[in-house]
Amino acid sequence: MGEVSKVNTHQDNQSDVLLEVKNLKTYFYMQSGDVVRAVDGVDFILKKGSVLGIIGESGSGKSVTSRSILRIVDEPGKVVGGEIIFKGKNVLELSEREMAKIRGAQISLIFQDPTTSFNPYIKIGEHLSEAYRVHKKDSKENIKRHVIDALKMVGISNYEDILNRYPCEFSAGFRQRIFIAMAMIFNPALLIADEPTTNLGITIQAEIIEALIEVKERVGNSVIIITHDFGVVSQFSDDILVMYAGHCVEYSPKKDLLLNPKHPYTVGLIQSVPLLEARKTRRLKSIPGFPPDMVNIPKGCPFAPRCAYKQEKCNQELPSLKNIGGSRKVACYYPLYDYHTSDDLKLG
């Protein structure tokens, strides 16, 4: 498992990097002949033990990005370009058999809805031990020990009782915890959480994030958390990637992005999202217009039709993700240098 890469073509300290996504493109070829460019050129690097938050609205391509990494994009979707380098190997070039060894053992995925992600007729214990058996043959006692270890990791103490029960006997929050345990049974190096807290109550949401943090501290795995909630990414991530219409528009360390966002879309989001903080004005500053139709994305910058700072150039050419210093990247011709979040919020 712990094979170190031999392809040292990158200037970064290669041994530190767990996952590198380069210019990923996933398109959906619809029957009508339309092409939906769900993910159109996404780049990011995930270091070992770090947390990346991907934030975007529905349809911005954040879930498709995560599914592309695991190569489980649904038909008629297809990864048409780019590289996904996990532990030095391009995932897209692996055979289906090699890929099956990675799924669940080295990269796991947590789904959004904990009610539908379990088979209602199978007991919890069976779910968890199956997740283990798929990858490794072992004696019953050993499997049970691993299952119990995984449950302990997410803070479940009365495991004996739980193993013989059915999923429907637990609340949504508890089920999501069990799901995290199932995903972590092999201590994967990368855990992808696709909207793990959406549709859960606010206290349960906090509970799940607390469990994710605890697991991360114990195992030291990397996490990609996908969400549309600024609160969740602000409290649980090292870097934040903002996606809009299949493109990555801003990618930078958390604190810089929260204090001093550069892309007009990020600024708009921070200004408009309902937050707990007191604002200086009663009205929220909203982003005008609606997200684009993914079948015919406008030429040039996809955000241009809604952008208050757009100029002629934005309608013509697509801006690429450029480094603007201090490990911050923005895909914008005219990034905002003088906006500070504290202009809007009364930050204590």
Binding site: S58, G201, A206, I209, L269, L276, I287, F290, T341
Partner: protein, 330 residues
């Protein structure tokens, strides 16, 4: 001061649980328990609670769909369940509901115009030209191009549908709007648009609003008074400023701590939830004493026996908690 537009007095809503061949009643689902509050003219009151705490049921009793088991709902000092047919028609004109899921709340085979016209027809507006004019005006007010009135709901996006729902609530120019999580199904960048729209319309028409939400972040901008609901009762209520700056009840504090926040991220504050792992209590077997006792970190002996009464912290700010009461008395 004039009388409040809406007054809820000791409202309970219980559903019987029936079983067996003879439908014998075997239990009681206590969904809404002893709720009291008032909404003044032009005021926005927010009702905040997690899913399953009974907020939607309470809204249904207020709008007249399900009579409460106990208690009275007074609209302009008159009990709505004692109104005759004509009075009820008048009441329905004056109180409108905004639904949570915009797509399912619109008839899929009706054009937007038909959906809006239906409301006007029901209240007996016979002049066709007048109806059309009202529909065009209302659509403009909610920021939709009037040509949208010929489209079907499936041709509109989620944000546009929500605007249609708001337009439908506005065509009769109501005095009171009940908004059941109007923005929770919308995309992030559209939430602010709809919130602003509601605030604009409120300033223009001077209507009152009961805004239901599931977290405290959403109502920060819009509400002047906030009530925190848990397992069918109101645990804490007070002015917006009091709730955000001087919250007393342990549950309110948890809600404040777990709501989305940028400043917590900037200050690298961790998660330390002051709540026991678990779920809201099941309405068919509510705990004795304080309803929050199953999850409260500070619960004492008497929290399990005695029901806490609402205690005044400052005028207008009430908390139902034994410990807070004790602290105030000391």
């Amino acid at each position: 001061m004039s009388a409040p537009i809406l007054e809820i007095v000791n409202v309970n809503k219980h559903y019987p649980i029936r079983k067996g061949f003879f439908n014998k009643q075997v239990g009681l689902k206590q969904v809404v328990n002893c709720i009291n509050f008032k909404i003044e003219d032009g005021e926005t009151v927010a009702l905040v609670g997690e899913s399953g705490c009974g907020k939607s049921v309470l809204l249904r009793t207020i709008i007249g769909l399900e009579p409460p088991t106990d208690g009275r709902i007074l609209f302009r000092e008159k009990d709505i369940y004692k109104k005759d047919k004509r009075g009820m028609k008048e009441f329905r004109k004056k109180v409108q509901l905004i639904f949570q899921n915009a797509f399912t709340a619109l008839h899929p085979r009706f054009t937007i115009e038909q959906s809006l016209e239906e409301v006007l027809l029901l209240t007996g507006m016979k002049d066709r030209k007048k109806r059309e004019q009202i529909i065009i005006d209302t659509l403009k007010k909610v920021g939709l191009d009037p040509v949208y009135r010929f489209r079907y709901p499936e041709q509109l996006s989620g944000g546009q549908c929500q605007r249609v729902i708001i337009a439908r609530a506005l065509v009769e120019q109501p005095d009171l709007i009940l908004a059941d999580e109007p923005i929770s199904s919308l995309d992030v960048s559209l939430q602010a648009q709809v919130l602003n729209l509601l605030m604009d319309l409120q300033d223009e028409y001077k209507m009152s609003m009961l805004f239901v939400a599931h977290d405290l972040a959403i109502v920060r901008q819009i509400a002047s008074k906030i009530m925190i609901m848990y397992a069918g009762t109101i645990l804490e209520s007070g002015s917006s400023w009091e709730i955000y700056n001087n919250a007393q009840h342990p549950y309110t504090k948890v809600l404040l701590k777990s709501a989305p926040s940028i400043s917590k991220g900037i200050n690298e504050e961790g998660f330390h939830l002051d709540i026991k792992v678990g779920d809201t209590p099941n309405p068919d077997s509510l705990p004795k004493g304080c309803l929050f006792n199953t999850r409260c970190m500070y619960s004492e002996e008497r929290c399990f026996h005695e029901k806490p009464m609402a205690t005044k912290v400052v005028p207008g700010h009430f908390v139902s908690c034994h410990l807070v009461k004790q602290m105030i008395e000391e």
